[in-house]
């Protein structure tokens, strides 16, 4: 059976096409402003790669903060749920998941079956999100990848008060003025986010194996800081940023989506009656 999963995040869209449990094609790109179109575009891209036509795909499930914009999908699944399904497939021993995306950092506790037992998100603040990393990289005037590598060469840790992304910036600026090396600043930034994510993760409890997914998992500097913060091993699957999409695809192959589809409709109604 051929199914597809589409993760429409705040920053990027990830699409996978899965045939009998194996990923046969994947595509990613910036979400931009027109999420629906982006979703469409990168879905088609993946199809092209796989040499498939829409009708070849049995079911498509979307996830992510913009998932419900992918109207062509047969259903929608909450991002944490997609994470859980994706991770348990890739790392059956996983019990704790950390997912740091562009707009939200979250931690999920899962059962051996991949059921979501508990979860926590870092509320109302950009510190502890991918966006924070990007903003700081810009303040340092280096590409994110660069900043990641730099922090590995740092020798000292500087506490950084990372409440607000923009003030994080001004702190970076004042650190620069204090003649602190970019290496050390880069580490300070990663330590700050790792600290925030770490405390979110502790809320659900740190049970092995701990798996880190999401785009930021590719940031070696952050991963280094996170391991130091948590004092435990952190597993990162290949393509950590595709896990959500994979999870959606797995949900697609499992079926039972009528609920989800209905959910979209009912939700609208209740919001109207709400006030």
């Amino acid at each position: 059976m051929i199914v597809a999963g589409i993760d429409v995040g705040g920053k990027n869209v990830h699409t996978v096409i899965v045939s009998d449990g194996n990923i046969i094609a994947k595509a990613e790109g910036p979400t931009g402003i027109k999420k629906a179109e982006a979703a469409e575009q990168f879905y088609n891209e993946a199809l092209k790669q796989a040499g498939l036509k829409r009708e070849d795909v049995e079911r498509v499930v979307a996830t992510g903060s913009g998932g419900k914009r992918a109207t062509f999908a047969d259903g929608y699944i909450a991002d944490a749920a997609a994470d859980a399904r994706g991770v348990i497939r890739l790392v059956p021993s996983a019990r704790t998941i950390i997912d740091v995306g562009g707009e939200e950092g979250r931690a999920i506790k899962i059962s051996a079956e991949g059921k979501v037992l508990d979860f926590a998100v870092n509320e109302k603040c950009a510190a502890g999100t991918g966006t924070f990393v990007d903003t700081m990289a810009r303040a340092l005037e280096v590409p994110v990848e660069e900043m990641a590598k730099m922090s590995l060469q740092s020798t000292r840790s500087i506490p950084m008060n990372a409440q607000c992304a923009v003030f994080g910036e001004s702190e970076v600026v004042s650190l620069i003025h204090q003649k602190i090396t970019k290496h050390d600043i880069a580490r300070a930034v990663h330590d700050a986010i790792a600290g925030r994510i770490g405390s979110v993760a502790r809320i659900v409890g740190l049970e092995n194996d701990l798996v880190m997914i999401g785009g930021v998992a590719k940031n070696v500097g952050f991963m280094d800081s996170l391991k130091r913060e948590l004092g435990m091993n952190v597993v990162t699957p290949d393509d950590p940023d595709y896990v959500g999409a994979l999870g959606a695809a797995i949900a697609a192959s499992a079926g039972v989506l009528e609920e989800e589809v209905k959910a979209k409709v009912v939700e609208k109604e209740t919001i109207e009656e709400g006030k």
């Binding site: 944490a80 059921k115 979860f119 509320e123 109302k124």
Partner: protein, 439 residues
């Protein structure tokens, strides 16, 4: 086809009517030569209401909540408090609504701010005394202010000394009232008011007890609009009668006839702290999944009086009749009133440690047969938000799925509705594995 018959309460209208009258009376008090006083929902209103002649009070928390239910007004009032007065925006949201209301000289129920003749307050959380102390300052500093301390220890530590301390302060309070108003305290009134307070407090607890039934006859959303009367004037005869002779019998009857608050009840939820008042739609949202909020330490004992019986269960505090007591005189009245509040108001226990809250909340979860907990981390009220994370751990340790969401009872700027709904979806569909109920 819903599982159970569901219908709205008959006494609903009466509750709304009493509430409206309360604020109307306060507003018009001076036109009728009546006295006006400001206090808290936990103030012993039986005492100032026992002054000779006509007296009307305004309790601060319910007022702040009424403002909170109206986002537009609320933001305006809070910005006045934060901007014009200059207070921090993380202070109690009710308090900011209240101060802002005075600063803008607007009464949320219409007209100018009705300045009080005196303040009669009591103190247990960090904000109570200061709340009206500063209010008096904003009002010009000339409002006589009295506040007594009820932070004397948890319900299981209440003995002679604790009761004496409060009663002695109440005597001082009576001197204050008579000096400030030039009116005498009427002992007959006082005795009647204390009786009423007992009825309001004990019958509310009895009513909450009935919610142990399946299906639950009441959901929290409804209970919120019912306990409010007890936060306004529990010593009032009409209020006492409402709880004793209208609400309690009706709910009892619902249980007997299996009439549910939510026809599709399939998951009984435990809540904590106040909800974000402007977003009660969240409860409607839950109902689509057959999730009914049936229990909450806050809702039960904000006004309800309870005790822990030999089996260690939470049971309603006995009424005066049940205790076979007739109030003899002023002293007797003050002691009984103090005893009931200090021993019965379990809501005060968490002020003395997380263990108290964990103990009470796990009792409630068991006795009210709760399946899951959705806890509102309430940035608007330290008092009701005490030990919430500890409580989550305690509930999870007893095997109950629990989720938290951050919000604020009366500051919409601190509540993210779409995100909260996303989290609730996740919790209910994934963790609880529930599906939306048909219809």
């Amino acid at each position: 086809m819903a599982k159970y018959e569901a219908k709205r309460l008959d006494c609903w209208g009466k509750a709304k009517e009493l509430r409206a009258k309360y604020y109307q009376d306060y507003k018009e008090a001076h036109d009728r030569g009546a006295l006006r006083w400001e206090g808290g929902a936990w103030t012993f209103d039986a005492i100032p209401q026992a002054l000779e002649g006509e007296v009307h009070g305004l309790t601060e928390e319910p007022y702040g909540a009424s403002v909170g239910a109206n986002p537009e007004v609320q933001v305006r009032y809070q910005e006045a408090a934060e901007g014009k007065w200059g207070c921090a925006n993380d202070l109690c949201a009710y308090l900011r609504n209240y101060w802002g209301s005075i600063i803008l000289n607007e009464f949320v129920f219409g007209g100018e701010w009705p300045k009080a003749d005196f303040i009669f307050q009591n103190h247990i959380c960090c904000s109570h005394a200061k709340w009206l102390q500063v209010a008096a300052e904003i009002e010009g500093g000339d409002v006589p202010f009295f506040c007594f301390d009820v932070g004397v220890g948890a319900y299981d530590k209440i003995a002679e000394r604790q009761i004496n301390f409060v009663v002695e302060q109440l005597y001082d309070g009576i001197d204050f009232l008579e000096k400030a108003t030039g009116r005498k305290l009427d002992d007959e009134k006082l005795i009647q008011n204390v009786k009423n307070t007992y009825d309001s407090s004990c019958y509310w607890a009895k009513t909450c007890m009935l919610n142990q039934a399946i299906p639950a006859p009441l959901d929290e959303k409804t209970m919120f609009s019912l306990y409010v009367l007890g936060t306004l004037e529990k010593s009032n005869k009409d209020v006492a009668n409402f709880y004793k002779n209208e609400l309690y019998p009706e709910v009892k009857d619902r249980v007997a006839n299996k009439i549910a608050a939510v026809g599709d009840e399939q998951c009984r939820m435990l809540g904590d702290s106040q909800p974000p008042w402007a977003f009660l739609s969240v409860y409607r949202y839950l109902e689509q999944y057959g999730v009914v909020s049936v229990a909450n330490l806050y809702t039960f004992s904000l006004i309800g009086w309870w005790k822990i019986d030999e089996q260690g269960n939470m049971v309603p505090y006995p009424t005066l009749e049940e205790q076979g007591i007739t109030i003899k005189d002023r002293d007797h009245a003050l002691r009984l009133l103090t005893e009931g509040e200090l021993k019965g108001k379990l809501m005060w226990a968490p002020f003395y440690g997380a263990n108290y809250k964990n103990d009470l909340v796990t009792k409630i979860a068991k006795q009210w047969k709760c399946d899951a907990a959705i806890l509102h981390l309430n940035r608007g009220c330290e008092g009701t938000a005490q030990h919430q994370m500890e409580m989550k751990i305690a509930l999870q340790n007893m095997g109950m799925p629990a989720m938290t969401f951050e919000g604020n009872m009366a500051d919409e700027r601190q509540f993210d509705e779409p995100r909260t709904k996303r989290l609730i979806d996740l919790f209910i569909t994934e963790t609880l594995g529930l599906k939306k109920v048909a219809g």
